[in-house]
């Protein structure tokens, strides 16, 4: 198989599925990826430049491959990051953690630690494989994403929205009570002051 065939196999087999996962999850396209695809295309174009010798053509294919590998790996890392952001809004909020997650707090903590540990292991593997096989860490990130998705499936977003409304109203009422209280105390103090003067 030629280098170019190998490159496009990487595109179809690894890059497109990873891209589908990311774009399907966030529902938008990350700007950075456009640059990566553009750069990859520029290197592929050089591979067909008649003025270049075979060695330089191969070097360009290798660079194009680097860009596609980066897109693949970054896709999984971005999905993990976005899922983590989402879980944290529940995990860091004691009310949401208690009332809006359909699992015990112990299970949630254990799963959340497993989710982070899986990503940490993948990250360690990725750093160890820099320059050797960058995609080696993909499976680790995928595993972490699956764990995160499992946690998200237990998170009740509708209930979290209701909680926000209830607490929002509660906080408005509480601030109104405080204001009335302050006004009352102010009124009493003013009256006492006037009586003292008389």
């Amino acid at each position: 198989m030629s280098d170019v065939d190998d490159l496009f196999e990487l595109y179809r087999e690894e890059c497109v599925p990873a891209y589908a996962d990311l774009v399907g999850y966030i529902g938008d396209k990350p700007r950075q990826f456009l640059t990566e695809f553009e750069n990859a295309f520029a290197h592929v174009a050089q591979c067909f430049n008649p003025d270049l010798d075979p060695e330089h053509k191969r070097a360009n294919i290798a660079k194009a491959k680097d860009h596609l590998q980066r897109i693949t790996l970054d896709s999984y890392k971005l999905i993990w990051y976005q899922i983590n952001q989402d879980i944290e809004t529940f995990y860091r909020n004691p009310d949401k953690r208690l009332f809006c997650v359909n699992m015990s707090q112990n299970d949630l903590s254990a799963e959340y630690q497993r989710f982070k540990k899986a990503a940490q292991d993948a990250r360690v593997l990725e750093v160890k494989n820099i320059g050797v096989d960058p995609l080696h860490a993909c499976e680790g990130y995928k595993e972490a994403i699956k764990i995160g998705k499992g946690i998200q499936e237990k998170m009740d977003y509708d209930k979290a929205d209701s909680l926000k409304l209830v607490y929002g109203n509660y906080s408005i009422k509480r601030s109104a009570v405080v204001e009335v209280g302050i006004s009352f105390i102010g009124g009493v103090l003013a009256t006492l002051f006037v009586i003292t003067l008389l």
Binding site: E9, R12, E13, E14, C15, V16, P17, A18, Y19, A20, D21, V23, G24, Y25, I26, G27, D28, K29, P30, R31, Q32, L34, F37, D74, Y76, K77, L78, I79, W80, Y81, N84, Q85, K116, A119, Q120, R123, C138, E139, K142, I145, K146, K149
Partner: protein, 72 residues
């Protein structure tokens, strides 16, 4: 090569990745499902850069974001 498979996409959209060969096909499919065009999105980050542009734009460093989330 690992078997061609997605983690979320196929389950989420009830489809098979083997029906797609390019990112353009993926974009069109998701746009159809969402009922809107995909937007070019800046992934949130606190890093602001100019990079030769007159408009400062947000740029992400996924490794920095990831490491910070992992507490490294």
């Amino acid at each position: 090569m690992v078997a061609r498979k997605t983690v979320l996409f196929e389950k989420e959209y009830n489809t098979s990745i083997s029906d797609f060969s390019t990112t353009e096909e993926i974009d069109s499919f998701i746009e159809k499902k969402l009922g809107r065009k995909l937007e070019i999105k800046q992934i949130e980050s606190s890093v602001v850069t100019n990079r030769g542009s007159i408009f400062p734009s947000k740029e992400y460093d996924i490794d920095k974001m990831l490491d910070s989330s992992l507490g490294r």
